[in-house]
């Protein structure tokens, strides 16, 4: 029954939105029924109000505020990230210390985790458990932790103390790699949590490590932003590769002063990153130096998120006072092919 109601509900919503801000109803009539989000692109917007947008895989249809449309309630602020595990999506909102669990295909709410979290940032999954990075009190450098979630009871079963400002968390083998961007301040640490013993090792990288991926060669690739000039103590950003077995730094490619990498993704054996000069570069696993020529120069006003799939680059041009815009580029021609509206403060792009 639900499968019937959802499309109907979505159509109803569309009808309303058409009548309010678009006179040309015909555009929407050929639209396939929405409501099933199993294939496509999800965009999370920090807010406030926070929201999640859906873009269909073939880029023909999009729908904003899908969580509200399905559940008739708001997620709260600020929507940091979404983690996916089997059929479930875990939506992390930091200021209300909440993770909202939904079915990733229907977006129906299944439950929430509201205790044991303090300024949660990102979630990852390993061996049937969820691992959530938490800043704790952002003014306290010593209370940061990883919350371990029992995915059956959705309760925090234990916490693992870590150093200041844990950000991204990535599961690999029996280990969790945590980048410590530093919260309100700055940090330069990657923590490696042994998920069996909960023992934590740390290694030092350049300042402000943020996004991480594991490449085809099995290396951990970390994007370190470096400290910006305004701090009065500028340090170099880098792309740093780490051996996931012995945790040694394999190579570190430092950026020149004045250029800091912000965003990164990995697709089909190629690393893509965006820098503070708002240019996109690509880098093969085998490259021994940073690329010198960009593959695309963006004209977005605030590039706040990016993702790459099937030679398509998705960029979130965030606005915090109006709707954000999601731009899609064909990387083979370096041209913009599509654009979609998204919520306030669009930041993360996921492929569902």
């Amino acid at each position: 029954m639900k499968n019937i109601f959802l499309p109907l509900f979505a159509l109803l919503l569309l009808t309303f939105s058409c009548s309010s801000d678009d006179d040309d109803d015909t555009i929407y009539e050929e639209v396939a029924p929405l409501g099933a989000y199993e294939n496509g692109i999800l965009v999370s917007s920090e807010g406030g109000p926070s929201s999640i947008s859906f873009i269909s895989e073939d880029l023909s249809v999009s729908e904003n505020s899908i969580y509200f449309n399905v559940n008739n309630e708001d997620l709260g602020v600020y929507l940091q990230s979404i983690g996916f595990n089997n059929d479930l999506a875990y939506i992390v909102t930091d200021s209300n210390n909440t993770i909202t669990i939904v079915n990733r295909n229907t977006f129906e709410k299944i439950g929430t985790i509201t205790t044991g979290l303090e300024l949660p940032r990102y979630i990852s999954f390993l061996n049937g458990k969820g691992y959530v990075s938490n800043w704790g009190d952002p003014n306290d450098a010593t209370d940061d932790f990883i919350a371990v979630i029992n995915l059956t009871t959705n309760a925090v079963e234990t916490t693992i103390p870590v150093v200041e400002g844990p950000e991204r968390i990535l599961a690999n083998g029996d280990k969790l790699f945590v980048s410590h961007k530093g919260g309100y301040g700055s940090n330069n640490i990657i923590s490696i949590v042994n998920a069996i013993s909960n023992v934590v090792e740390t290694i030092t990288v350049n300042d402000n490590p943020d996004e991480m991926i594991v490449n085809t060669a099995g290396e951990l690739v970390v994007l370190c932003g470096g400290k910006e000039a305004w701090t009065g103590n500028e340090t170099a950003g880098s792309i740093t590769k780490i051996n996931t077995t012995n945790h040694s730094v394999i190579s570190s490619f430092d950026f020149a002063d004045g250029v800091h990498p912000n965003l990164m993704d990995y697709s089909n054996g190629t690393l893509y990153f965006q820098t503070s000069s708002n240019k996109i570069y690509s880098m093969a696993d085998s490259d021994t130096s940073l690329p010198t020529n960009s593959i695309l120069d963006l004209t977005t006003s605030y590039t706040y998120g990016m993702a790459v799939k099937d030679n398509r680059l998705f960029v979130a041009d965030a606005s915090f006072t109006a709707q954000s815009e999601i731009l899609v580029y064909d990387l083979s021609t370096a041209t913009e092919t599509h654009s979609f509206s998204a919520g306030r403060g669009a930041s993360k792009i996921y492929f569902n």
Partner: protein, 616 residues
Amino acid sequence: MKNIICLFLFLSVCVSGIAQTPIDSIQTLDEVVLSDSKLKHYAPGFKIEVLNDSILRTNANSLTGVLAFNSNLYFKENGYGMVSSPSFRGTNASQTAVIWNGIPINSQLNGQTDFNTINTTNYDDIAIRSGGGSVQYGSGAIGGSIHLNNTLNFKSHFDTHIRTGYGSFDTKKGSVSSSFGSNRWSAKVGVAYVDSENDYEYLDTSKKNVNGAFNNLDFNFNLGYFILDNDVLKLYQQSFRSDRDFSGTIATPGQSRYEDKNYRTLLEWSHLAKMFNYQVKVAHLQENFKYFGTQSTVNYSFGKVNTFIVKPTFNFRFSEKIKLKTSIDYTKYEAEGTSFGSPSRFNVSATALLNHKVTKAFSYGVNLRKDFTSTFNNPLVFSVDTEYAVTNNYKLQLNGSRNYRVPTFNDLYWQPGGNLDLIPESSYQVDFGQQLDLGFGQLKVNGYYITTKDLIVWKPNKVGIWSPVNIAESNSYGAEVELHSHFHFNSHYFKINSHYSYTVSEDATTKKQLIYVPFHKANISVAYNYKRISLFFQHVFNGEVFTSEDNLKGRFFSLKAYDVSNIGFDFAVLKNSNRQLSLGGRVNNLFDKAYQNIAFRPMPNRNFNIQLNYKF
């Protein structure tokens, strides 16, 4: 309520009496009782509405509560009692100046006054001056200015007024004030306290305002003393502190806590003479806040600014018709805070105000001001205004002005993002008003146009850091109608005040209406008095506002229009010339309407309070 009527009648008699006395003696009188006589005497072409003591007493204690129901200002409150900022004639929160006894008190950190940190209990009147006032009041007086005035009464008297109240959400209020006067002395001391759990229901949900408790304490001390027959020394002192738990949104309950402390001291010496008189003001202001991210944390961020002002003023009266006021203002600001180090700056301004009463019906003013600031250049600002009485009961007012707003300490020094290259926002405006006396009341109709450029807007810069830039330009225009009426049938007295405003305020580039500026706002209050019984009803209508710059409508983009009504009564138990005791009550949000004036932050459901007043 009887007091309102009495006071009103008394004022009417005073006004008609004063109208026959020579103009300079009124001014001399005002220079004695007021600190800010230019509010009345150098603004013939400006609309000024004065909310007197009786209106203040029958309204909420916060400046937000008073003005929402008694002026054209629109308010954005982060939940009841939380941070509150106005929009006056479509301008933003830092473009309304708040003036305390003639001294501008907007925060040097964010440029605004939080209207919920002004307790109105201890003021004698509050004036709303519409239109640009930068010449007289400096930075930020673009949409208009709000004047908090204490008056000194040198008539022989000794009064004490005690008020105490209790209401919904465990709200306790109390105040005591005493006023003393003799030939040479005038003194007034007042204390007011409010404490509320403020845990109101979010209507249409199962949630409550869980983290919204607040309390505040206001202490006021005013003193006047004639050192010589023509020399009066005045002291105004105010201390205010408040402690608030900050409400959250429907989906994100608040956890934080905020402490405010404000200290204001003004010492003034006036030499009174007919042709040439002078004044020297010395003032110290301190604003101080602490923000705690959660209830349990001991860590906080803070900001603090000390402001020192020295301001000599010279008044020349060339004839009965022409007068000139000149002043030099030296102000030094010293700031200190978690996110901006300890910057300081000074400002020197020179002001000249000329007023010429050409005939009884026609007068005009020409006013100039130039500021010199240590960190940026200020424009030369001016205003010209004129008033013309077409008939005895029909009057025209016209004014045009250039106004400005300087970058705040946050704008300049915030780390990261602070921008030392900012320049002041610059604004021009014209305002045309008509006033018609109808016998049973007064009708005012105004139309205005304001254009402001170099608006300071915080946005992410190219490396992704939020930083302020002089980027936007806005145009506002609109119409305001005010009707004030009073009449009686035998012993049944009625008083009606109402306001309506139509406001278009748009971004000059996108032509979109600015967020949180309603096209329509209206309010009405009706007071009724019969012998010992007084009743009042007040109602405000706020039109739909956009919460998103794209001007779309719907839950994520706009807030619905709303109506809110309050009703109250007062019964005079004891009513003689030296003792008055009354019992009153009021119901706020009478019809239990769910409404928000900031998105996702609900305002209170229906609530009640009772109040006891004793004056002797």
